[in-house]
């Protein structure tokens, strides 16, 4: 859980604690922040909220895809002699891309 200033809050992050405004819960714990939420938070003058650290927010989801693309390029250069029309080889290829993406993601952190 991290306490972030509103300027750092992005769409897709998960709220870690109920967000209250004048004694009323306006966003429940566990809710994914939308563009609409961001507008309202600004309007209500809320300056900071707690969000989960390890979530699959939409920003990370996009970079997940990017990592897969990068991994695919890397793996392709090693699979130049492999017959990807053969189903078992294709299966191994997919696992290799997944694993490479995971490694690249880990290394980037």
């Amino acid at each position: 859980m991290t306490l972030l200033a509103l300027s750092e809050i992005q769409e897709g992050m998960i709220v870690a604690n109920d967000v209250e405004f004048r004694g009323q819960v306006i966003i429940r714990k566990g809710v994914r922040i939308s563009a609409d939420h961001l507008k309202k938070l600004k309007a209500w003058g809320i300056v900071e909220i707690s969000v989960n650290n390890h979530n699959s927010n939409s920003n990370e989801a996009i970079s997940d895809k990017e990592f897969i693309e990068l991994a695919r390029k890397k793996v392709n250069s090693r699979f130049i002699h492999a017959d990807l029309n053969y189903a078992p080889m294709k299966e191994i290829y997919k696992l290799a891309v997944k694993r490479t993406a995971k490694r690249m993601q880990k290394a980037s952190k």
Binding site: R78, I80, P88, Y93, K94, L95
Partner: protein
């Protein structure tokens, strides 16, 4: 007349020899008069080996419900031939402890070999093979010829590896072009020199071309497919930079489902971690 690969192995067979304990166990197992206790006593001659075998017997490698607290119990539950193969797996690494590391990172090399052994072991379990540890050892030993070449022919191998990168070619083919033999043959001859069983020799010698295996085709096929998988996923490295292409006939020999690796991935990773800590952490 012997081939250059055979001569290379003959020249180094004094340097790279198996510890005698393996042969003593082998002899005792082959002798119908020896008891589990007698075989156990040979293992107990090397207390650190005995302790490690017990640790392995009680690990997630086997998942036995009951605790195995003595070597004779381990022998009776795991099996004498299986335990002999695990002795081989536990002692072979030390034979190559002095290989210069300019061309190969030994940790990475053994990680590749262990991963290949574990993958072959999981394949063998799926096939209901008699002795899955034999597949483990076959995978562990499959690239051993490369170590002899790194140590004895370092200049030529450095050149081979440069050509591989430039021409985007497999190492075993480049070795053959440049030296007229490859690491699979050297490994096979070394295992022959060690008087190891035929299935290990064939698996090693044919792991790049399993269709050439006339006997023990399931061993050659399993190691070929496992090597293909492990290289493709880059679990450790033996120095091959390209993903091998899988022979369709080898895959058919094993009769695995198309999704085999997808469904066994976790199992392979779990056993791999176990084996790495057993073999590499000393």
């Amino acid at each position: 007349m012997s081939s250059p690969a055979q001569r290379l192995v003959k020249n180094v067979s004094k340097i790279y020899s198996l510890p005698t304990i393996y042969y003593r166990i082998e002899k005792a197992i082959e002798d119908p008069n020896s008891s589990l206790k007698q075989i156990g006593n040979i293992i107990l001659d090397d207390p650190s080996l005995a302790a490690r075998l017990l640790r392995l017997a009680n690990s997630a490698f086997f998942n036995f419900p009951q605790k195995i607290d003595s070597i004779p119990t381990a022998l009776s539950i795991i099996g004498t031939k299986q335990l002999r193969d695990l002795v081989l797996a536990s002692t072979v690494i030390k034979v190559f402890k002095d290989i210069p590391e300019e061309l190969v990172n030994m940790e990475s090399f053994w990680r590749h070999s262990i991963a290949c052994g574990i993958t072959a072991r999981v394949i063998a379990a799926d096939m209901n093979a008699d002795n899955i540890e034999a597949f483990f050892v076959a995978g562990l030993l499959h690239d051993i010829g490369a170590l002899i070449m790194f140590a004895q022919l370092s200049d030529s191998i450095a050149e081979v590896m440069t050509i591989c990168k430039q021409e985007k070619q497999y190492r075993y083919l480049t070795e053959k072009q440049k030296l007229e033999f490859n690491h699979a043959e050297v490994g096979g001859y070394l295992l022959k020199e060690w008087e190891l069983p035929e299935h290990l020799i064939i698996a090693c010698m044919r792991h790049h071309e399993p269709h050439h295996a006339r006997h023990f085709t399931e061993y050659a096929a399993a190691i070929h497919v496992a090597d293909c998988f492990v290289n493709a996923l880059q679990i450790g490295s033996s120095g091959e930079h390209l993903a091998p292409n899988m022979e369709r006939k080898a895959w058919r020999t094993l009769n695995l489902s198309e999704k085999f690796f997808n469904s066994e991935m976790q199992q392979i990773e779990r056993q791999y971690k176990e084996a790495v800590s057993y073999i590499l952490d000393d």
